[in-house]
């Protein structure tokens, strides 16, 4: 298998997960798509080293999160025009969806690193040490960012107050 083929196979297998994480991080379908493409582009440019290390997931995750933070600093919330609108999953209009929407909006109001910490911890189920390793920060920072993020969520997403109280405990 050539490098191009192995990259293509890997990228396609990880694409859905990357899209979800990117969406949670950015809160915007267009930005999420851009973030995924940028991450894969960077992955392609270093595919030999990454695949040789046999840890491409770790590398991809790191690119995604760090790129999100630095990229967010640059572009903030500028409008990014696109030619083709990406498709979106249909809403089910249930109570859970309402909560999900509230979470999404609440996430969007968090600082990018707080958002990343929450996604890594509660969406990707990484431990504090693993989260710290991905973001390149100290475990203590992960703890404090998590605490602050939850506290802020508790204020701005009333629908989650009950569950967040549980999380804090």
């Amino acid at each position: 298998m050539t490098d191009a083929e192995s990259f293509d196979e890997y990228a396609r297998s990880r694409l859905p997960m990357l899209a979800r994480v990117a969406y949670l991080l950015t809160g915007d379908p267009f930005l999420a798509d851009d973030l995924v493409q940028l991450t894969l582009l960077r992955l392609a440019s270093r595919w030999e080293q990454v695949s040789a290390a046999r840890e491409p997931d770790a590398y991809v995750r790191r690119i995604l999160y760090t790129q999100h933070v630095s990229w967010w600093r640059r572009v903030r919330r500028e409008a990014l025009p696109v030619a083709v609108l990406p498709e979106r999953a249909a809403a089910d209009f249930t109570g859970e969806t309402v909560t999900a929407l509230a979470v999404r909006e609440a996430l969007a109001r968090l600082a990018p690193r707080q958002r990343a910490v929450l996604v890594l911890r509660y969406f990707e189920d990484l431990s504090e040490a693993e989260t710290a390793a991905v973001l390149g920060i100290a475990v203590g920072t992960v703890k404090s960012q998590t605490r602050d993020a939850l506290a802020r969520l508790r204020v701005i997403a009333l629908e989650l107050s009950g569950s967040l109280a549980e999380v804090n405990r």
Binding site: A4, F7, D8, S13, R14, L15, P16, M17, A19, R20, A22, Y23, L24, P29, A32, D33, Q37, L40, L41, R42, L43, A44, S45, R46, A53, E55, P56, D57, A58, Y59, R61, R62, P86, R88, A89, E96, T97, T99, A100, L101, A102, V103, R104, L107, L118, V119, Y122, F123, E124, D125, L126, E130, A133, V134, G136, L160, S163, E166, V167, R169
Partner: protein, 450 residues
């Protein structure tokens, strides 16, 4: 415990856009890789080239040899970015000279301190560096004296050209230029060509100038006697015969001797140590004015001693000394020491002892490219005359900033790469990423990729 938040995040993630593989991701990634490598290579190349382009940094200031009894000491060239005397004065100095290869893109004075430090002395185009006092502390320049210890400049007399220092470094023989270099003729006569120049001396202790002669002195030269009480000076209009005058600092006149166009006062230390004679240099083959323009036409030179009591001139035994005598700058062990400027530009300037038998013993060699060597008289007569080399680290502040600007990017790059490598190792060690992706996808009930 955190299932509600997890479920909320999972639900929120389901609104994610349908994933798509960008077009030609692989090819774009490859292109990005090539660009990155090209930029890195170019940056490295630029760094190497910029370091190599810094004059003398890789090659050193000058090839120096240690001074010992047989090998003459060598005076190296300065680095272009050397500190100036104004930034860090290094007086008293053991040598001064001119070097053209500095950041000032003009002939720049170079001062070599007793501690071996090199300092640049920026000058305006066409300016002379001046004369260093016998003790190496002062630099006599046009209209001023610069204290090389403090860096302070003391004005002497307007339009005063320095000629020679007294042996005690407290008085300066000078000519106040009254009729040269002006294109306007003012009402007070200072620009009148018919108004003669003033020859006198400036006293450092009192800050006063005593005028001894009022005569034309267009191409003057002068010297204090060893006891500092008499002065020998050549005066006259340019293009005409020069006259050697010996006068007392109290104003009493001594002998007066008309010189030929092939004779001239030997230099600042032209008086013999016993104070009985004044040394002239006589050129063979050309008048001195022509010899200076075309040094190669000089066919040897010799010394002549003028008895200051009788005015009699006596030739030395040697008839055709080699080199080009820049000036008699001192007496070492009873023998005259000259600066030999060489008869061709390829020859380095040297400080040489002119032995009585006509031979020449080299004491100090100035690095090729520099010129107008000026060694304080005390150093010539009693100094060790060791080799000196410039220190490239004695640099002006802007050079340090430029160097930092050049070195910072590659160093930062190295640090970033190192940090990234550590982070990857930490990720591997923590097991992050293992089992993620496809498994998660299945757990999430993810979409199939188109």
């Amino acid at each position: 415990m955190s299932e509600t938040l997890r479920e909320a995040l999972r639900r929120a993630a389901e609104s994610a856009p349908a994933p798509r593989m960008g077009e030609q991701l692989w090819r774009r990634g490859r292109r990005r890789r090539r660009v990155r490598r090209a930029v890195t290579g170019l940056a490295g190349l630029l760094l190497v080239v910029s370091l190599a382009a810094m004059p003398g940094l890789l090659a050193g200031g000058a090839g120096l040899q240690p001074a010992d009894g047989r090998t003459p000491a060598t005076l190296g060239r300065p680095y272009a970015w050397q500190l100036t005397y104004g930034q860090d004065a290094n007086g008293p100095v053991v040598a001064a000279f001119i070097d053209p290869a500095t950041i000032y893109l003009e002939a720049t004075g170079v001062l070599v301190g007793r501690d071996g430090s090199y300092r640049l002395f920026p000058m305006n185009p066409g300016e002379d560096l001046g004369f260093v006092s016998p003790d190496g502390r002062y630099l006599a320049r046009w209209g001023e004296i610069v204290d090389l210890v403090t860096g302070r400049a003391m004005p002497t007399v307007d339009r005063a050209r320095p000629l020679a220092w007294a042996p005690d470094s407290r008085r300066l023989l000078l000519v106040v230029d009254r009729d040269d270099g002006f294109i306007e003729y003012g009402p007070n006569g200072e620009s009148d060509p018919s108004h003669p120049d003033d020859v006198g001396f400036y006293d450092l202790d009192s800050g006063t100038t005593t005028i001894l002669l009022n005569t034309d002195a267009d191409t003057p030269a002068g010297a204090f006697s060893p006891d500092g009480r008499r002065i020998a000076v050549t005066v006259g209009k340019v293009g005409e015969a020069q006259t050697l005058r010996v006068i007392d600092v109290a104003g009493a006149s001594g002998i007066s001797l008309e010189l030929t166009d092939r004779q001239r006062l030997a230099g600042e230390a032209a008086w013999t140590p016993d104070g009985r004679s004044v040394v002239l240099v006589a050129g063979n083959g050309c008048p001195w004015s022509d010899c200076e323009a075309w040094p190669g036409s000089l066919q040897g030179w010799r010394m002549q001693r003028v008895d200051v009591a009788t005015g009699e001139v006596a030739d030395e035994a040697a008839t055709a000394r080699p080199g080009f005598p820049g000036g008699l700058v001192g007496w070492r062990d009873g023998e005259p020491v000259f600066v030999d400027q060489g008869v061709s530009p390829e020859e380095p300037e040297e400080l040489v002892v002119a032995a009585a038998d006509g031979a020449e013993r080299v004491l100090l060699v100035l690095a090729h490219g520099s010129g107008l060597l000026n060694v304080p008289r005390d150093e010539v007569e009693h100094g060790a005359l060791g080799s000196q080399a410039a220190n490239p680290l004695a640099a002006q502040p802007w050079v340090v900033l430029c160097l930092l600007a050049c070195l910072a990017p590659p160093v930062l790059l190295l640090l970033v790469l190192r940090r990234r490598r550590r982070a990857v190792r930490a990720l591997r060690g923590s097991g992050v990423g293992q089992g993620a992706g496809a498994d998660d996808l299945r757990a999430e009930g993810g979409d199939a990729v188109a």
